[in-house]
Symmetry: C2
């Protein structure tokens, strides 16, 4: 099918930008995600679902620890987007010299952010190239009155070289995802 015919709809189905923190086997990491959805209508049992690409270092950490924390970036935190979203935690300690604290799940939460949610995984679904984790929100708080950061806005405001850097990175990820999307494993997630 011709993607351009649905692009404007798809563009409305991504979430605000979150730094996703995880902690497993003594290490902490943060990655960027924009595929997050509200997943509960019950205020006393808030839930969110989040899609994490299997190629990401954070994927195995979230799968292993069964936990993650979302720190939604504020509109003025472009530096964090670059720091957490453009390199892998396999190559670098992305949290070095970043002020953060540790949530009850052990996941790192940025001291400076629009707001955070600390989550425990209650189920997961394989998408081939990614896993969709369903998380129960254990704790959270909105810190800032400024709105969250949205990817389409960032694309227009970030430096040209970052856009080029991103395009190169995402091209590799698209190729990998395309190859992996059919390989869905239908065996159940273990709680």
């Amino acid at each position: 099918m011709d993607y351009s015919l649905i692009a404007s709809m798809m563009g409305r189905l991504w979430s605000p930008i979150a730094a996703v923190g995880s902690h497993w086997q003594g290490r902490s990491n943060v990655q960027i995600a924009v595929a997050i959805a509200a997943s509960s209508i019950v205020p006393s049992k808030p839930r969110v679902s989040i899609q994490i690409y299997k190629n990401n270092h954070s994927h195995d950490m979230i799968y292993g620890s069964k936990a993650f924390a979302l720190s939604f970036l504020g509109t003025d935190q472009l530096d964090y987007l670059h720091r957490f979203g453009f390199v892998s935690g396999r190559d670098k300690d992305k949290l070095e010299s970043v002020p953060y604290h540790t949530a009850s799940t052990g996941s790192p939460i940025l001291d400076a952010c629009w707001g955070y949610m600390d989550c425990r995984v209650v189920n997961a679904m394989d998408g081939g190239d990614m896993t969709c984790f369903l998380g129960e929100v254990l704790d959270g708080r909105t810190w800032s009155r400024s709105g969250p950061m949205w990817w389409p806005d960032v694309r227009r405001t970030m430096p040209r070289e970052w856009n080029d850097e991103w395009d190169a990175k995402i091209a590799g990820e698209i190729a990998l995802s395309q190859e992996r999307m059919e390989r869905i494993d239908y065996s159940p997630w273990k709680p």
Copy 2:
């Protein structure tokens, strides 16, 4: 936890309003959903995920047919929101006298909408009260230049009696969801 502390974040994690069409065992139905997320970074393999409450008539139709179609409502389609979102397809043929056509999956697509996507289910995850379906987009098109309809906007513009009607309906659904959320079945979905 205190929901008011995360309410403004949660408010940004719902999608535009879609009329979700399904067809199973000779019957067609449409329900309203706002928990839809983009689920692919590969333009040649677009995917979306959608959460459908088990109490909805459409749930078993989507589970059975392994297909659904999204017709995103335009900002001027408040009548469709009321028609499809406030009653159950168990009680009424919601598509009677509504102009629609049939997608390749058999799911109904509204002739008038912001845009549509016809989807085949490729995986599913149990959330206790709801199922999250991962769908491959087989076909789609953006019809209108107007933007989509968002629930927070609608809340402010729809008649007061509709707001009251909605509050009464959702209160029952929240109670039911709360009771069912813990009963997650971890056995795998069958493709």
